[in-house]
Amino acid sequence: MTVTKLTFYDRIDNALSHPEKQLAISAGAKAKYINRANAMAEFQDMEMTRQLARQVRANTLSKLDLYLEQFADNVETLGGKIFWAKDADECNNYIHQLAVRHNVKLIAKSKSMLTEEIDLNDSLGHANIEVVETDLGEFIVQLSNDRPSHIIAPVLHMTREDVGTIFNENLNVPFTTDPSELNTIAREHMRHIFLNADMGISGVNFGVAESGSICLVTNEGNGRLISTTPRIHVAIMGMERIVPTLTDLNTMLQLLARSATGQKLTVYNNIITGPKRTNELDGPDELHIIIIDNGRSNILASSLSEILYCIRCGACLNACPVFQSIGGHAYGSVYPGPVGSILSPLLFGNHFDPLPHASSLCGACKEVCPVDIDLPSLLIKLRTQNIQKGSAPLWMQISQWIYAVTICNPILFQIFLQLAQTITNRFSQKGWITKLPGPLKNWTNQRDFPALAQKSFRQMWSSNKE
């Protein structure tokens, strides 16, 4: 993934300096949050299903090697090809060579965060192969050279006017802000791409071990088109995306749709079992499934492996008060929000170490997660690791050290407590400090800081004793 040079704090400042984007993001995220809540409220046995889904994910990861082999055997029996890619380069090279071998000039692609992770479009672009994003949101992102700001709704940060302008400037059409007209423009433009592409590329929502099927989930139908009209279909799957059986797949699909968009089921749950068979009318002649590691086996070996339960529904993004304020771009990663704050440092390295600190640990993410990932605990684990390896900012390391020493020593603790009591009460009005000095003033810009109680518990205890 291309990494920006800006620090996390710069990116946040950037995000906060665009109030219109901020409004679009927080309205969009909140709408999705409410849709999800409504859909879950009418879901019978929701909590039980969620815990079952969690067990399915835990079971799958604990025997992932066996399931991967079973999946691959089944795909190969059906006439599909499996390629095992260690990292982004191996995956991109395979697709490049395949495209060259078949003289592919145009590729239609459905939305996949994994392909963003491995920079597939850039890699193919360098080789003069045209790749067109067919998901409406991703298409707009591609036209405007932007980046997706949400894993489910790539243009959450854009207004209608933004989209109208982008279409007007890039597609030679009159300016409009009507979503349904914009839709029609995109549909007409994209038809040509679907019917002329020589290769379709997609991600994989779930791979089913028992049958060698892959499931692509789309509302627009682009996932169906790119896996039907081109002669070759290439599906790229993160190695953890396996479910053992069709029954498990069903459980996941019910939760995924409700969590992502508040639908009972996504419009098209497209289950693909091998390439087109001899007597069938339409479909791709070749199916290539690339199973990619790209750092996942390291996560699997770590104490943070629970993050691999994730089914990429985006519910934790919508629920997160930090995401609602700063939006996806500020995270600087293809995976934003709570899940991204954990995945990004693990997949993309030190540059993303500050991300886990951008959380109030309120637990809203865990509450909405369809597989009940304990995101707050994982965030704390990552913070601990950051301190231990010394990658946290110096001021944080020093204050952590002071805190650790103080809390372990009753006399020091007493002294600091008295000091804090005196100082905070001196500067407070009616128990609240409304203005802090220097760099601390950011804190009191939005809210007041409570002063410590006039009398501490210890003081009350000893005075009561007397």
């Binding site: 309205a27 999705k32 079952l52 399915v56 835990a58 079971n59 990861l61 604990s62 090697d65 991967l68 082999e69 095992w84 260690k86 191996e90 998901d135 409406l136 949101g137 707009i140 709704a153 209608r160 979503p179 839709n183 019917l195 020589d198 099927s213 509302n219 627009e220 139908g221 682009n222 169906r224 088109l225 039907t228 002669r231 190695m239 069709l246 029954t247 498990d248 069903n250 459980t251 699909l253 639908q263 009972k264 089921l265 419009v267 098209y268 749950n269 497209n270 289950i271 693909i272 079992t273 390439p275 069938e280 009318l281 339409d282 479909g283 199973i291 086996s297 699997l300 770590s302 492996s305």
Partner: protein, 225 residues
Amino acid sequence: MQRNQFVKTVRRSINLNDLPTINSLPIKNKLGNITNRATLIKQFVHEANAVKCHTHLVNDHEIAMDTILNLLSDQPNKKYMSWDDKWLPIPNFNTILKNLKYEHCNNYIPQDREKRQSTYKHLEQACIGITGCSAGLADTGSIILESQAGQGRLCSLLVPIHVALITSNQIYPTMGSYLSDKSDNVTRSSNCNIITGPSRTSDITQTLTLGIHGPGTLHIVIIDN
């Protein structure tokens, strides 16, 4: 990377992590508690309408045929795509349409690049795609379509209007109940789709619009005799 090397890395990670192995999963198919046929149909119709399908509940295949002819007569041309008669609950469906001078677009897609593209060009002119169903799901208003010989995928994909024919005995309470009865059917062809409503997107400012890449209109004709 070689398969065995890849799998070995995964195995090593699992061993390092000491993940708990969970052997038996209590997961079962949710069967739903409705068994009464009339209630099932009612729920199916209600849920399908809720996801913006147009449902037509009819008593026999003749009225079903009339419904389809009505839809066809509103179209700008007489071209349509459909599954083979074998897969449709109306007998001699394609022959009837042929006698009425409707043109069935052949949706066999050849391997050759040029021929393939000219076929697509031709198929794009079809106004309506008519298919049967493997099943309907009452709790979500979904229909399930396979892609065996004579059941082209494009009939429910390339056209602006998709008409799906279903008989009332094909309606299951939930996906779980379908899977526990017919799970092999899901994987017996290269493609099985669980379709819930017409194609849609809310990408632009969370405003729902229908018909982005797939059909924008989905009619479900339920034959209950």
